[in-house]
Amino acid sequence: MEDLLNTPTAFRNDAYAKVTGIAKYADDITIPGMLHAVPIYSDYVYAELIAVDATEALKQPGVIAVYTARDVPGKVLFGQIIQDYQVLADKYIKTHGDVIALLVAETRVQAIAAIPFVRIEARELPAVLDPEVAMLPETPLLHPAHGSNICNEHCVRRGDITLGEQASDVVIEQTFKTQRIEHSYLEPESGIAYLRPDGVMEVMGSMQHPFSTRRFTANTLGLALNDVEVKTIPMGGGFGGKDDTAALVCARAALCAYLLKRPVKMTYTREWSMRESYKRHPYTLQYRMGLSQDGIIRFAKSRFVADGGAYCSVTPWVTWRSTVQCCGAYSVENVHNDTYGVYTNNIFSGAMRGFGSPQVNFAIEQLIEMAGEKLGLDELEIRRRNMVRQGSTTVTGQVLDTHVVSLQQAMDRVLAEIDYTNKRSQCSFGDPAQDEWYGIGMALSYRGMSLGAEGVDFNSAIISVQPDGSVLIETGIHENGQGSESAMILIAAEHLGIPKERIRYRMPSTSNIPDGGTTVASRGTILGGGAVVNAAKILKNILTTEIKTAKNIDVSSFRDSGLYDTNNELVMSWNDAIKLCYSRQQYPYAFGVFQAPKVSWDEHTGQGNAYFTWVYACQAVELKVNPKTRQVTVLNIVAAHEVGKAINPDMVKGQIYGGLATAVGYALLEDCKSENGKIVPTNFHNYRIARATDLPEMTAILIENHDPQSPSGAKGVGEPTLELLAPAIANAVYRATGKRFYTLPIRIEL
């Protein structure tokens, strides 16, 4: 039998289109008669909007219209959790990225040329930029309807901190700070919309959540969900960053198309994208942790403050993950955590690959080593004594017994691969006699898969077999560039026993497949793949039943394009079975659903089975530091990740390399600074992400323990890859320089 899932080369259904340049992304599409919309920003960070004067702008060549919040036929406010995000600024400008108006012209060049002619009158208000200040009771409310500048709070209350303090022989306290970073998807936001003759607003765009885009659009236009159809096209990267803002760019194009009855495209420049799109949350993390002489963590008290910026977006969910994972991959009996997501007038923060865990891991994975050092235990031993194992209880009271807890396995594989113990002895620790300092470092993580108690978590798949035996499949998962369609095809091929070449992934539309939620949280393969497996089961049932009724033969397996009985005798070919089905007036068509197993959460105690399954990882890094230039050069990275089952192994490794590259940026290069509420970087010359020359050799190790709760056996890999390299680098920098760095990005100051 052909081993479909272990083909030596990567499989991508979009490979040909992408290597020949014929793949059509949003901005590559043109519609006859199409107009171009551009955003109008103001110079204000926080202000009361008094008037928008478009008189002069409308006189400019090619300009057709200028729209403000007043022109919105539906609702101006929307949001995934709290509806506080303005399609266009209405009454108040709440942040520097707010769009005040939309200008539409015949050509994009004309539209851009007319931007300076829109006059904005506003009364400046004192901006609140520090989350700690925002939380003070005397600070004016940025969203009075919410009743507080604290967008959300979460906590964990486990055991008794006082008892933990009493049992501790050493106590350490440390504050860590992490920075704001930009997703830096290579394709800036773009949306195209046109009103179809049947009255449906059709939208295509560079966004990662078609259903969210549909909700944003319908809400803005005041239409029902079935009046808006969002179609999926190739998109140039998302990393969590193409939800709210990208959805809104599409909704704004739709707004203009709706009002003008002409197709409208809105494509962002990099500058607009950096200015307006949400970022990774900057965090301040304060820890107090106690351990007894035997190296066991007796208590951990922590307080996290996340700057959510001007709008809620998914801050409550991002910060919830931080809360659940507040002690990293360690079992701690007495835990007290308070986490706050806070409104400020800064650029808003939202989903980004990693989603609330990179910040926590940066802190805890250094803290554990600092504690070990105090106790005279090395960084491996202190971890071994506290890490979660099979049957361990997490800090939220969840027992890890439904899957293989492979943290130790991941750690052992990485340490062996990188030859950790030997290399550890060569570390410089800032030795003044050396003119180049060497360091090695590692970090561990565990991560709850998919959405957990953040929200409803289910997905669906359609398998429709055509009369000639070829297959169309579709799921509620979005292709963000990660290769989800290819993974779905491989899963379907395996379960139907037919070659992948016979399966085509139908580009989904929101009018065809049910809302499957957002393609984030590394949930694509586990949720979508689960739905494909379940649909395949239903489909096989249809075929089996038809053959039983027609021929009284029991089919027991599907493989090699054939159906086999219990004696392994071929009953009939796949094609013949499909023909039989059609001749008996049965459609070989199946709709499969996968509902994530139940999770639970008590928001008062912060206890519950937060996620239905978990993944585990270890990453290690070697680097050198030049004491004079303070330059850090990363020399080698090894990463091991539990993935459940690798559906498309090369693609899984590709996910790991990509996550590591972004994590090098997070640790050492990237900083989306804000000055007086205005984002400083404007483009890639002043926002530096990792280039080819910044990266060392990387080794990806896949650990596969099929997850019994995942129908395909697979878990996920997108996000964990980016959540633990920064602390591994910090630990390596420590062993190179002898100094700890508690702030990201790491800037060597000696």
Partner: protein
């Protein structure tokens, strides 16, 4: 408006351009070549790379009017009836994810292999240092180029 005559993917084309129009905009909007992508519009990402007389050039940095008489090749022009060895290697090594960087990366790599058919890893990195990719971590791109260079005849 000025007339510019150039050779695009081996075809002679004459177009009217504004003096301020970049080659990238003209390729995409007036010549129908959508493979060069706009990632930054200021020379920092390499997504817009095309070959001009065999040299990899960022098309957002030059004006179309400067291209009179030049031979321009976009990824569409490289992709004939058969994929190049490099394109095949890109597929084999999964050297793209979202694929937005791929046209520029393949152009840069094509130029590299032409001028240096057997580059080492450092030379590959150097040649690609102007091409940003946020998805792949570059490693699968390096692998594909190394593989293609082995298949290129000595």
């Amino acid at each position: 408006m000025a007339k510019v005559k150039l050779t695009l993917n081996n075809e002679t084309r004459t177009i009217d351009v504004e003096p301020c129009e970049t080659l990238l905009d003209v390729l995409r909007d007036k010549l129908g070549m959508k493979s060069p992508k706009c990632g930054c519009d200021r020379g920092d990402c390499g997504a817009c790379a095309v070959l001009i007389d065999g040299k990899s050039v960022r098309s957002c940095l030059i004006f179309a009017i400067e291209c009179e008489g030049q031979h321009i090749t976009t990824l569409e022009g490289i992709s004939g009836d058969q994929l190049s060895i490099l394109q095949e290697a890109f597929i084999e090594f999964n050297s793209f994810q979202c694929g937005y960087c791929a046209p520029g990366v393949i152009i840069s790599a094509t130029e590299l292999l032409k001028s240096n058919p057997h580059p080492n890893l450092e030379e590959i990195k150097e040649a690609l240092s102007g091409n940003l990719c946020r998805c792949t971590g570059y490693q699968p791109i390096f692998d594909a180029i190394l593989k293609a260079s082995k298949e290129t005849k000595k």
